[in-house]
Each structure stands twice: as C-alpha cells, then as structure tokens.
Symmetry: C2
Subunit: 212 residues, 2 copies
DNA sequence: ACCTGAACACCGTTCAAGT
DNA sequence: ACCTGAACACCGTTCAAGT
C-alpha cells in the first residue's frame, strides 16, 4: 500500500489548532455558556452547543473542565461575583438600615434582570457525593458578609453572634420572597409588587429587631 | 411456512395483563416514584426505574401519564397535599402569633425530614412554554392560605390586602431560610441552629408588624 | 501536545406488533 | 384494549487516532 504521506512534517499541512491558550478557551466556554443560559435557560446548556459556539469539538471542553458539573459551578461562580459587585455598590457611609434596604432591592433587581442565571444558582444541585468546592463557598460567604457587616452597625443591644444570625435570617427571607415571586409560586398580583413586599419584610424585621 | 399458531384464542395462553386498572397503575407509579425520590433523590427518578419497580414496561407509564413532566407534577402535588395536612394540624383556637410560629417550625421540620421530596418541589422547573396546571396552583394556594388567615387575625390596624402581603412576605422569608439552610448555602454552624433562626425571623417580623 | 470525532452508556419518548 | 420492547433522538463522557 502506497500512500501520499511523504511530507516530512505533517503538521505543516494542517496546523494544530493552538490558536487559543487553555485559559483563553476556558474563558470562551464560560462566556458562551453564560449567554446560552441567559438567552435559552439553564436546561438548554449542553456541551455540544457550547463546543459548536466556540468553534471547537466536545473533547476540547474536557481539556479545560473536569466535566459538565465543574463547568456549571464556574458559571455559577461568575454570577456570584457579579452579584457581590452589584451589592457592594450599595454600601456607603449612610445609615445601616437604608443600606440593607438598598442591598435587598438591588438583589431583587439583579434576580429579576438576570433571571435565568440567577435561577441556575439554585436549580442546579450537585450530586449526592460531590461537595461544594472551597473557592465557590468563599464566593457565597462574600455575598452574605455584606449584609452581616451592616447588621452589626444596626444595634448595640446585640452581640456579634446575634447580629450574624439576624443578618442570615433576614437575608434568607429576602431570598425566599425573591425565589417564590420570580418562579411564580408567590402570586403577588393584587397584593402590591414584589419590591414592595421585600421592603415590607426588611422594614418590619428591622423594626422588631431594634425594639426591646 | 407452517407455524404452530393453531390455537384459536391466543390470549388464553398468555393472558393480557389487566391485573390492575389504569387508576391502580397510576397510584403504583406515584408511590414508587415518591420512594425513589426519598431514597435516592430527584435526579435518580427515571421512567425505566419506575417501570421495573412496578413490574410493567416503559410504555405503560405513558398510558397513565402524558410524559415525565406530568408524572413529576403529580409527585410534587402529593407532597404539597402532605405539607398542607401537616401545617393544618398546627391550627387551633390559640393566639395567631403562636400558630404562625408553629406553622413555620412545622414547615421546617417537614422540609428537614423529607428533604428530597421537598427540594424536588423547587428544583424541578417546567419548560419555558409549559404553564403550571390549575389543579397544582390550587394546592400551592391552599398552603399559603393557612398563613394568610392567621395574619388577618393578628392585627386590626391593617386591612385584608396588607395582611395578605405581610403573610406572603413572611412566608417567603421562612421558606428562604429553610432553603438556604437545608441546601447548605446558609452556614448556620456557630450562629445557632436553623429552627432558632426561623423563630427569630418570625418573631421580629411580627413584632415590627404589630408596632406603630 | 493539542484536538478530533466516533463510540459508548444512558436518558425520555414513540409506536408497530403481539396477545 | 392493554401492554410490550425495539427503535429513535439526544444527552454527557471517553479515548484511540490524527496532525
């Protein structure tokens, strides 16, 4: 069998890709993944779709991410960073109660405007055996810390421990109203809009918290 | 070609199944589906597994349910009924504030003890085009109504509209603390247990609500 | 070393064929 | 009429083979 493999360096004829570094490919993947989630929803996020969109094949995705779960966690991480950034901008040297209100309504706005990416954070559940990576948990903590700091400046009657618990109670609460509203489980038609409800929750909780 | 198909009534040799009515099969499916979710989690719920477990084949599932999404909605419906039943038992002729506290902690207990079935309600998201069936929405409303009724008896300073909004704000809040805690997003270690946090939220919100 | 793409196991869903 | 089970389209994942 005689074949035409007589060129000394085969890779001259068809260049190995190498047009992008691993890091570049990783970023391309994360970018198109985010776009797919935003435009089509989390359930439409597929390896083959991502691969096609970045101009590589499925195998390449597995060069830069362990698997789909790993990829998803990184998309979620990007969203958490984004949320932290938005909330941070509400923090100024004004009074704590107003800042907490601003953080809460900003969170609601973010969820509302980036509904698919925000829902993805809570809809996706990692497998039974897997545990949340450290770098991801740290991002979660960063978001919570923003509210905790404000709570500690709110009342001198409570110690740090109690402030922390109150912050988490209220923050869980705000999140709950957002999730029930935005996923249609809390029908707020006729009972004021969602923002009003969030404000009501924050206002009354803080009023109760500061009272005797 | 001569074959041995010379018995007049073939279905005598292998009886058509018909051991169960459609309604019985439907119940069998829902029962094993619930068990699978409880024991292995929502992500392990598969048609083939259900079929094997009830002693029929995949095709039979599609005789009694439109598709997997329909089946899932019915499992979720069962859970909502179950939750409503549990919460209903907390309602007595005592004072409204205590009843709301009892409802909240009972909800937390239920979520904690039936974690997989409870998480399924919120993790599962129906497709973009699909909308929540009427019979399902009614079950959701039944659960909310329990809290709303208590809120209307709590304060004479607010009208029905305001009470409704307050009930939904707090209920969203309680749910939020539950979901963030039970899915590990709210690290409550060192800040008291979850129940304490739920009680704190309810207590302070109601205190603020009843104040001027 | 980087990347491909066929192959695999495993999904939900359908439907012609059996009794 | 009830039920089967092969077939299909579509997933995520792997890995021998190409350059």
């Amino acid at each position: 069998m005689y074949t035409v493999l007589n060129h000394s360096k085969a890779y001259y004829t068809m260049a190995r890709r190498s047009e992008h570094s691993q890091e570049e490919i990783k970023q391309m993947v994360l970018n198109v993944a985010e776009t797919i989630v935003d435009e089509e929803g989390f359930s439409e996020l597929k390896v083959r779709k991502i691969a096609m969109e970045i101009g590589y094949t499925v195998g390449s995705i597995y060069m830069v991410f362990e698997n789909m779960a790993d990829l998803i966690m990184h998309v979620k991480g990007q969203t958490l960073d984004d949320i932290a950034l938005q909330l941070q901008q509400q923090v100024n040297d004004g009074n704590a109660e107003q800042i907490i209100q601003d953080i809460a309504t900003t969170y609601l706005s973010y969820a509302n405007e980036n509904i698919n990416r925000w829902r993805m954070i809570f809809e996706h559940q990692l497998a039974e055996n897997e545990l949340v990576p450290d770098w991801y948990q740290r991002k979660v903590d960063t978001v919570f810390a923003l509210v905790e700091i404000q709570f500690q400046q709110l009342s001198s009657k409570h110690d740090e421990q109690q402030s922390k618990q109150a912050a988490r109670a209220l923050w869980g609460g705000v999140h709950g109203v957002c999730i029930l509203s935005l996923t249609g489980k809390l029908d707020l038609v006729g009972v004021g809009n969602i923002e009003e409800t969030v404000v009501l929750l924050v206002e009354n909780f803080i009023k109760g918290w500061k009272a005797d």
